[in-house]
Symmetry: C2
Subunit: 643 residues, 2 copies
């Protein structure tokens, strides 16, 4: 117990290191800690890190800021699991150097101190490289030469000596922090992805006809042309017949109505089966493969629930709850009943059997080529289950992504991200005003959420037509789209409904009228409307400009109009950072002055040319404040590169 | 893994439960946690707690506030070690009751739900007391009676049924939080103590004569009369001869100068010996015993360092650092040298031997009757050492108190408190302005420090005559005294210097001129000066009014004068809470209006009589704002009881 350094309050620390922090290659991890020792001796500290495959720690610098608070950074070039911790110690060599310099300055005789220094240098010699060994020897020589005291004390102020003493850390009697925080480095797509959702059954060009995977293949070039790289389908499994829902969520389906795809399971099969109206497994695999050739990943829906005629109900009655009258327990929100959906009973005595079966569903589809899962309502199944399932998948496969579709309370959404979901739906859908947007972005990027919660911004979903889009046109949708695509590196839309500007609500609720959830729709998959042109252009900009490929590089900027949102998206190469202004008013033209600091873009203060990537127009801007004006009918935003 | 509840972010949590939180009997612990489950079922949770001697947990309520945040309280009647954790579960019985009530309200048939309720009630029956068993049976009877459906559904709204379901917690498939946070409940004196410090060698009435323990005995009634219950002496051990310090810290002592008591050790002995000029061990034990009879604990100084002629230097050279020229390493702050003091080398290969010897010093004095130690500069010895030492002492003895004399950086002071020091010197000595005082009090009482850091407020010490007391008189000292004695339940003063208003500094530094640290002084131990009268009265008030016996019950109150500090000290019986106003200006009379809310003192809004405990004057105060005026030459503060 000769160790004297104390390490406290290390961040990031996700529940004591229990959950990993998430990064993609070269994304920085900022590490802070409180570090101090007893007495007045110099303390030193460093970051220790390694990949799961390595045994030996590598080191990285930590710097003392103030008040015993230290800071450092690490980043990883390659995907994989890593961990870091912190090591601290009393740095006697550095302490000696600082002390002898002070004494020399005060004209104190330091003959004995020089000899002490020799002891430190001899130890450091063992760690040093060949060139530095020569240098160290020369210092020892000067110390040893009793006739050259003046030379020796002059050498004590050498910057080279200081460099050597700081570089080779003896770290004697060091303290190692007792938490090893895990880090998962995943494929860049975990942080930068562009999602499009449509219902496979609406892919046919023929009105009223049930679409097929073959029809979907024909839509792929359209999706690719718009610039999306994830295509997400609602469930493709057989749909229950009992208690099937009809048009607009009616509790009785008319003959021929297709039902909700989330009412999974019929005599034809369950979660591993395919709705035969869509085609065969072979068709599906062909679709997945053709999508991949267009750089599109097919994301599959995972909805762990069953219709009343799912084969599980008969084969595994123990996985459901049964009522005293012998009927099966359906989903409820008293007094509302959802008889088309049976939740699994995770408190079942056969919870193990249930867990294994559900894992096998995910594994099955991975084996068919699926790498991305959009998980339906994960917050209605136990957290311990998801934690286990994702861990099991990760044991066998890398870069399988799970998007958490949980629109629920903040701590629950955060927990799902902690236990392993790759990305998460977010509150963006309902963040409308400037202060709401800035507050939410700060929460996502400046709080602990930054370490593990990767938001995915959606202006709409099949379940949500938010009030602010009701009965609106191009301007509102364009604004919400540009917000999603610029604020978040992961975003998505439930299309053609969205890009064709369908905004009619069902009875004034936040739901779509004539929702595709309950019926087959037909869509124009070809016309390049203004909205689609905007989407295509925006996605091209996102792909070209690194600044849009992470969410955590945002800096909001002052302006003088509450309806205008100004922000910088920083790039590592500052000259490629972008300046964005969005009009939050979808009714009226808004203008105002926005602050601008050229130096943040590696430009000299003065006048620079800014070029709008959306409409190609250029302006001369000065460091300070600049006038902007946006007409929502024409242009929802400026996205300026600084020339 | 059928458990579905999640428990996160439990507070208090001192570094993952590693360090205990500190309380005295009946001092409340407020516990908070984030708790939630999957799905929409009702979640329930409770505090589990037990003493170190118990195996079985006892339970206490937790309440949901908002946003999945829960809160509860526990307190312990008896001293000892305890721990707490939290348990949470899906409360199916409560969920059922809430559900069936909603369905009944919506006129849904609940015959099946009644049968489900019977299942829950049958389980609860097993936990219930005899009387409640009868009640539960009556509900089951109503459910079973198929002819009385209306009676049964009416009974579902009974408050008694709700009470039963909430009272007997099935806690099936519960989650237990993985941290068991330790709690140490100590004697009330840990939180409420009143310290007086003097130099034993200055206790003689004869001018220039070295005081003795016998002389100290004669001073005891004076100290008791002023109302102090801890009497702290600087070290009483033999003082080094080599490099002895002279008057005013001169590096050479003249013949006959006594030296600094902190330069411990001479050929006469070390840390277990007594300076023979003070008397014998028997004299010391007699003094301790006579003090106890006056309800005064003698606090002993523990300064783990040695003079150059301490026996350890020869007997255990391995416990010191040696320089290449064969001399021993003394304390330094380059280029300053402190040759009269040798620090121990805790990095010694024989650190074990050193630790054991130092522990034996503490144990030795405990065996002589000492129960309180004021530890000199604990931050210059390793934290791991103190943690171990205090733990070892606690294995054998209860209620041995350690006061940490660390005036250093905030994280270091906090760490010493965490690892076991009972009380800590504080920054109060330098907190002067209203905002400094309020800010510091909030830090001490509202941050995590409240759990383990018990501040002790000192207006002065032998090492510190703060600038704001330089060359001041009664008014300044009285104000600083009243601040210490009202803001903090633990306070102390270095007397007679303080109570006799000696405020001459040495060369304008924050040090006393002619400091007792280096010479023998003589004091008037009898005259009841105005300052001493104030001290006696204030200590009597502190002893009488519970509101002054804890530090954590403070609430600052608005007033309209930055030189006036207003606050409430809350008592459990609100009518005994006190209202304090202190004039922070020691030069001028200050007046203003201070806010006052009679309801906080369990009085009806309107006019109440307030009675100043310091001068006996009464005023009629109204709820709202009231005029106050304080002349520092006459009265430093109002301490109002509300009649």
């Amino acid at each position: 117990m000769q160790n004297r350094a104390i390490i406290e309050n290390v961040t990031p620390n996700i529940e004591g290191g229990k959950y990993y922090i998430k990064r993609t290659p070269n994304e920085t991890i900022e590490i802070t800690a409180h570090i101090f020792g007893d007495g007045h001796d110099e303390v030193n500290a460093r970051i220790l890190y390694k990949s799961a495959k390595q045994k030996k720690w590598q080191t990285s610098h930590l710097y003392h800021i103030a008040n015993d608070e230290w800071i450092g950074n690490i980043a990883f070039e390659y995907e994989g699991m890593y961990s870091f911790t912190i090591e601290a110690w009393i740095d006697h060599a550095l302490d000696w150097l600082i002390g002898i310099r002070k004494k020399i300055l005060a004209n104190v005789d330091v003959k004995v101190e020089l000899k002490i220094g020799k002891e430190h240098l001899s130890k450091i010699m063992k760690l040093a490289g060949a060139k530095d060994k020569v240098l160290i020897k020369s210092y020892i020589h000067k110390i040893d030469d009793v006739n050259e005291y003046e030379v020796a004390i002059k050498a004590m102020n050498d910057i080279v000596l200081e460099r050597i003493i700081k570089q080779y850390q003896l770290a004697e009697f060091s303290t190692k922090h007792d938490v090893e925080q895990l880090i998962k480095v995943e494929n860049k797509k975990a942080t930068f992805s562009t999602w499009y959702e449509f219902f496979t059954r609406s892919a046919s060009k023929e009105i009223g006809k049930h679409g097929t995977f073959k029809d979907c293949e024909k839509v792929l070039p359209f999706v690719a042309d718009l610039g999306f790289d994830v295509l997400y389908f609602p469930p493709i499994h057989p749909i229950g017949n009992n208690f099937r829902k009809g048009k607009n969520n009616s509790t009785t389906a008319k003959p021929g109505e297709p039902g909700s795809p989330w009412a999974i399971g019929s005599p034809d099969g369950g979660h591993k089966a395919i709705n035969k109206e869509l085609g065969t497994l072979a068709d599906f695999k062909m679709l997945v493969s053709k999508a991949k050739s267009l750089n599109i990943d097919i994301a599959m829906d995972i909805a762990f629930q069953a219709s009343q005629d799912h084969p599980y109900v008969k084969e595994h009655p123990e996985w459901f709850k049964w009522r005293p009258d012998g009927t099966v327990q359906y989903a409820e929100n008293p007094p509302k009943k959802y008889q088309d959906v049976l939740p699994f009973n995770f408190e079942s005595n056969d919870w193990k059997g249930l867990w294994n079966e559900l894992l096998s569903v995910v594994m099955y589809w991975i084996e068919q080529g699926v790498t991305i899962f959009r998980v339906d309502n994960p917050h209605t199944k136990p957290f311990v289950f998801w934690e286990w399932l994702i861990k099991e998948v990760n044991k066998k496969y890398n870069n399988i992504f799970f998007l958490s579709e949980a629109f629920t309370r903040p701590k629950i959404m955060a927990k799902l991200a902690k236990i392993g979901f790759t990305q998460s739906y977010s509150y963006f859908t309902w963040r409308v005003t400037k202060s709401e947007i800035i507050g939410y972005m700060n929460e996502l990027t400046q709080s602990e959420l930054r370490e593990y919660f990767r938001p995915n911004f959606w202006p709409n979903t099949p379940d949500i037509l938010p009030f602010h889009l009701h009965n609106k046109g191009y301007a509102a949708s364009a604004m919400r789209f540009v917000l999603a695509a610029t604020l978040s590196s992961n975003y998505g839309m439930y299309g053609p409904v969205f890009d064709l500007l369908e905004t009619e609500s069902f009875n004034g609720k936040e739901e779509y009228n004539n929702s595709e959830k309950y019926e087959i729709r037909n869509w124009d998959w070809t016309t390049m409307t203004p909205m689609r042109k905007l989407i295509k252009l925006m996605n091209a900009i996102r792909n070209k400009y690194e600044a849009f490929q992470t969410t955590y590089n945002i800096e909001f900027v002052d302006n003088d109009n509450p309806m205008l949102l100004s922000f910088i998206k920083h790039a590592n190469d500052k000259s490629k950072s972008l300046f964005i202004v969005i009009n939050l008013d979808d009714n009226f033209k808004q203008s105002g002055h926005t602050k601008f600091d050229a130096e943040k873009f590696a430009k000299k203060a003065g006048i620079v040319k800014v070029n709008d990537l959306l409409n190609g127009e250029s302006y001369d801007w000065k460091t300070d404040w600049n006038y902007v004006e946006l007409d929502p009918q024409i242009l929802p935003a400026h996205i300026f590169e600084i020339l």
